[in-house]
Symmetry: C2
Subunit: 353 residues, 2 copies
């Protein structure tokens, strides 16, 4: 016995296949009486509605959008900023009944969901420009939206000005009187886990721009700057990196961290060494993740509208998809830059001298 399809049901009821299709997908196309009879027979035969795969092929619409994150998908669930972003995307998609597919991009292996999974479009969030998965998405000619990503003509993008945002954090320290600042960061083109004189060399947009912003404020003020670069943006890494800086003879009086997560690690490192924050050490983060206000002392940081980014990304993608499906030529892609704001809390103060 084969599977039950539209045809099976149609034969049994004695109508055309198309009518059965309409019974499920376009109820207004047939009489209520017939529709009911068809649905009854379908239920009786164990037919559970049009096959999604066939329907997707015929309608050229999948009912799912992709989200491509970093190379490692599981990162999506460890970083609080990523989860906030995804949550916002999810919330926005939820009401449209469209599913959200997380795309991984295992470097090296030939397995690439970005190539093989049915999608109507995708959000690309902070992915390296040379990622193979991104290359596939492009080639598939899907509507895309870039977030925290180098903007490209033709592709709508949503960003903050990381450089300016970072500068306000650094300027805040300068204004407080700090003249020796340590930077705790990640993803730079520099050796890991060692104190070095920082530059702005990185393939990753976000760390690079933030570094530029910090140096924009620190260098002209004649501040001494030392940095530690880590492979991963995590609390453990932040703790280790901050530790290296704090163990220097003549240690910095303030630390700037790439993220609130790394800043949390820095607070830990200070605690490990019984260095009082903000008395003997100021610490500033970036993101204003929920973590920032939970920490003790609460964290001075730069707030970025993560939730709004997700909302906008989803919204922008939906309209791009609609337009693409109508076949109308895409209107010029908007590049949105959202505002950030320095949030001063309890982790920064004047240096002791």
């Amino acid at each position: 016995m084969g599977r039950v399809t539209l045809q099976t049901v149609a034969d049994r009821v004695g109508v055309s296949r198309m009518t059965v299709s309409n019974a499920f997908s376009r109820p207004d196309q047939l009489s209520a009486r017939l529709r009911e009879r068809i649905l009854d027979v379908a239920a009786e035969l164990g037919y559970c509605g049009p096959d999604p795969a066939a329907r997707t092929l015929a309608r050229r619409r999948a009912g799912a959008v992709g989200v491509l994150l970093t190379d490692s998908l599981s990162y999506a669930f460890t970083d609080e900023i990523a989860t906030t972003f995804l949550g916002a995307v999810a919330r926005e998609l939820e009401v449209t009944g469209i599913a959200m597919t997380l795309l991984s991009s295992p470097r090296g292996s030939g397995l690439t969901p970005a190539r093989d999974v049915v999608l109507d479009g995708a959000i690309v969030y902070s992915v390296d420009g040379d990622s193979p998965a991104l290359a596939w998405l492009r080639r598939r000619d899907l509507p895309l939206v870039f977030v925290d990503q180098v903007a490209e003509p033709g592709i709508p993008s949503i960003n903050i000005d990381d450089r300016i945002a970072a500068r306000t954090a650094a300027q805040h320290l300068v204004d407080l009187g700090h003249r020796d600042v340590g930077i705790v960061t990640q993803g730079m083109n520099a050796p890991y886990e060692t104190v070095y004189e920082p530059d702005t060399d990185s393939v990753h947009l976000v760390p690079r721009e933030r570094m530029k912003g910090w140096l924009d404020a620190l260098r002209p003020a004649g501040v001494r700057v030392r940095a530690v670069n880590e492979a991963v943006n995590g609390e453990v890494e932040g703790r280790r990196a901050a530790g290296l800086l704090l163990d220097q003879p003549d240690r910095p009086t303030a630390l700037l961290a790439l993220s609130d997560l790394m800043a949390a690690g820095a607070l830990h490192a200070a605690e490990d060494r019984t260095i009082a924050v903000p008395g003997a050490l100021s610490v500033a983060g970036f993101d204003d993740s929920p973590l920032a206000s939970r920490l003790r002392p609460s964290l001075t940081t730069v707030a970025q509208p993560t939730h709004e980014k997700g909302r906008l990304a989803a919204q922008t993608l939906m309209t791009a998809i609609e337009r693409a499906q109508e076949g109308s030529t895409p209107s010029r892609a908007r590049h949105q830059v959202l505002d950030t704001e320095l949030v001063v809390r309890d982790s920064t103060a004047q240096p002791l001298n």
Copy 2:
């Protein structure tokens, strides 16, 4: 001009459509020379590989599995336990190159990804038995795996024994000498935000079983038990609920919370009232989320192997899918119950008197 398909490429190269298909999907079926030529022409024509929708239909395989969570999808990204679980699932799927689709289940609206999205199978995580989305997944006859869900014959499941686990936490308080305990929970069939004498009535598996477990230990020991029920499992809610209990005349000497998240709220509530923990109040959570050890005081809780749950769920699903696709009759579904362990930290101690 129509879109570029296999046929377009085939015509151009002068081979059959099937050969082009093989060039992409089964390289061993043709000579390397021809394959290269086909790939070149394809690139030239802007053909970017087999259409996923068509391929999915023809192979009857989607390359994506679903994860159905609570009704509100965005919850998936706010609860640290949910994200840990999803992260583990993601990590496990990642290496197989299979994508993970998050299914929402908007009650009421007719929009149901669970019905319309192509999937090879799905993980159902702590979803009410009467969820419409779950009903659709069932009808579609997809391989399923249940997690934190009432086990059913024929469907592999992964659970912990919430009842016994909760009992160990409550017993711990009893053993310390507490004789007046407050319960901070969620999802019970009881009025919200009011102090009441608890019972075990709930449609939700997890809160119900944990409540049973707590009462198993508390009632026989003659402990006075009061509870507050909230609509949502969140920190804010935990704080409010704990506040209600702590504001009672003759307040409890210890609190049991449904989750570490609610327990965190309870710690906050104590702090608000300058009640010392664990000196004047003991607090115990559940889950052993990363949060538990971050909190001050660090939280006594019941550790459950959340990561392992995710890993196993993904693994179990993958084998179920394989078996289903081979057409072999599914072997009897395993119901796995994982171990839990009481983790005593700094938030519990003997009561004062």
